[in-house]
Symmetry: C2
Subunit: 371 residues, 2 copies
């Protein structure tokens, strides 16, 4: 029987994720599977929590990877904190803020939104105004909006919530491991990320963290979490304590890979990793601008790991992307929603954020565009 | 920094899952990550659907792996089919039937149960009686109860539902790939499984399948699925059609592994695989009985892949299991719930179900028990 895996090419992943995976992470995936209650595996779980806390800059006890991709992390944060009728404010300036609204609405929350133009950041002054009217149970925002390449001012939004009763929920799917994320410093109560962006691990897990305040809300719910699979009040007993209780069978080999990916970041040094992202971003933008291309986002709000560049007039979006993929083995991302056909999204995430990749991409794009 | 992965031992996984993973499946995990919308990756996705349909014996269009472990599959089946107030009947004779009840109740269903002794099968006659009173929207049962080692008579229960308006929902987490599963032949409308049992792939994915009838129910819901991550009406657009729509980033490398694991089963031949499970089960039971041990389940209801044996009086459960693990590098499972401390659960799942493993285990158990 024909085995399609024999012909998988090595593609330079410069889209919005997954990103390129380093050799040791691929190797980790192939380490012998252990049982999910094996004492040695529990050691690895414990170490994953330690590494995640470092990267997220948090002391939260409940800091673990959820057994699903980044969107499962979003689901986990909302479903554990929301009870029907809860007031939630969602700050939206792209696909992932919009998704938050959909997730929270399905769970029976009373969702208010504050919307900003896609490609522009959330404005704290407008948030401050909005907060005057009402105390929300949850205020939610995306740190790095993967659909536009905008960095939202999470720290400043966090300041607005200081001393308030609201829980601060932040999506760091694309930011974690690529730019500074300071969960405790910014007063974030619930945070989720994904493995396939700046952690440079294949997709499949979503690191989440809940503050003690958030955990208290979870433990004192009036209703059970309407999602058995993601119920943190049970999952915590598998990830913590002297006697671990089976909840669901953890994705062992993916957890090996996450462990290895986190180790690589900590070994390289978090600040070095952030600098590497920034330097390559600067190089990429310079190269793109030298080719006459224009970035979507103002410099001060740009994410280093997700670069949105406007598609030049008269250029066939799909044709360029498929030629990059077929002739140059490079993947970049298309625009989403109102930005479909208008931008390309060029990822420099984790292991992808290297000089040789920037150069190879710029050369390839030049070739493709000149024909 | 110390890397814990360097000291992971190869353990013979004879518990209730995960099972041993074959070399080619480990290799598949390390194949270059592709983008989740990459045309070549979509070919692999399409082939996974074909292979899953073969193994499940179904023509259902919507036959895909959910991006989570087996319990996410359970969640997916219930959350897509249940709307608040729906009448559901759950047949319970172990942990996983009990879990179904919890999942369905959290989703607002009116849950009726019919309970049977743990270690005994569900009795179709009693189900028939129960069905006389009411038409349930869903009737749910576990095919292979992993907590006891009992095979439930899914085919006969399916017959009782013929011509009725109820949807038949079946858990085949532990059975799929180890014994015959005939989704269409048995009239099953929604089915889920897991990768880490008889498919011998690491945990992380849950193959699910929905009949056209079930799909119609999903597409005509009055309320949105209260779980964005598992909403099949959206996920189907990623797994089907000419233009695939991004929903969440699929767990690429885990899907490679599932593809490879399915390929190995189809290449060996489904009937040969089932026979291999049966033969090794027979050998194991004979060996255990020769040692004076007693099986929990009556022969005609026994699962070949999950063998529950009673712990002899005066034997220290935990000590035996930890010595098997530490001295012999063999994992077996403990009892759950009312069977905790009373049985061991010995898995012969997928790649684990081999003569040399049965012999190695019997020899080790003999040694451990005689001291």
């Amino acid at each position: 029987m024909k085995n399609l895996l024999n012909n998988v090419e090595e593609v330079l992943l410069m889209g919005p994720g997954p990103s390129c995976v380093a050799g040791p992470v691929y190797d980790a995936l192939g380490v012998y599977t252990l049982g999910h209650l094996d004492p040695y595996f529990i050691k690895i779980m414990d170490e994953i929590k330690v590494l995640l806390r470092k990267l997220m800059k948090t002391n939260n006890r409940l800091t673990i990877p959820v057994s699903g991709t980044g969107s499962a992390g979003m689901e986990a944060c909302f479903v554990n904190l929301i009870e029907p009728g809860d007031e939630v404010l969602i700050l939206i300036n792209g696909v992932f803020g919009t998704r938050m609204k959909d997730v929270a609405t399905r769970l029976g929350a009373e969702v208010d939104t504050l919307e900003f133009e896609w490609g522009k950041p959330v404005e704290p002054a407008k948030v401050e105004e909005k907060l005057k009217g009402k105390t929300y149970k949850i205020v939610a925002v995306v740190h790095a909006e993967t659909s536009t390449g905008v960095r939202n001012p999470v720290k400043n939004i966090g300041k607005l919530l200081e001393g308030k009763d609201s829980l601060f929920l932040v999506d760091t799917v694309t930011s974690l491991g690529g730019i500074n994320v300071d969960m405790d410093g910014w007063g974030v109560d619930a945070m989720y990320s994904g493995t396939q962006k700046c952690l440079s691990c294949p997709p499949g897990l979503s690191p989440v963290s809940f503050s003690e305040r958030a955990l208290e809300v979870i433990m004192n719910r009036k209703t059970k979490v309407p999602n058995w699979y993601l119920d943190m009040s049970m999952i915590v007993n598998y990830w913590e304590g002297n006697k671990r209780a089976y909840h669901h069978t953890a994705p062992i080999n993916m957890l090996y890979a996450l462990y290895q990916a986190l180790l690589l970041i900590i070994e390289e040094g978090m600040d070095s990793v952030f600098n590497r992202h920034l330097e390559n971003h600067t190089k990429l933008v310079k190269g793109l601008e030298n080719m006459g291309l224009e970035m979507l986002v103002e410099p001060r709000y740009r994410l280093p790991m997700l670069n949105s560049v406007k598609i030049p007039a008269g250029t066939d979006d799909g044709d360029v992307r498929s030629r990059l993929r077929n002739e140059h083995k490079i993947e970049i991302g298309a625009g989403l929603g109102p930005l479909a056909g208008k931008i390309w999204r060029i990822g420099l995430m984790g292991h992808t954020a290297r000089e040789e990749n920037v150069e190879r991409f710029l050369k390839a794009l030049k070739e493709v565009l000149k024909r």
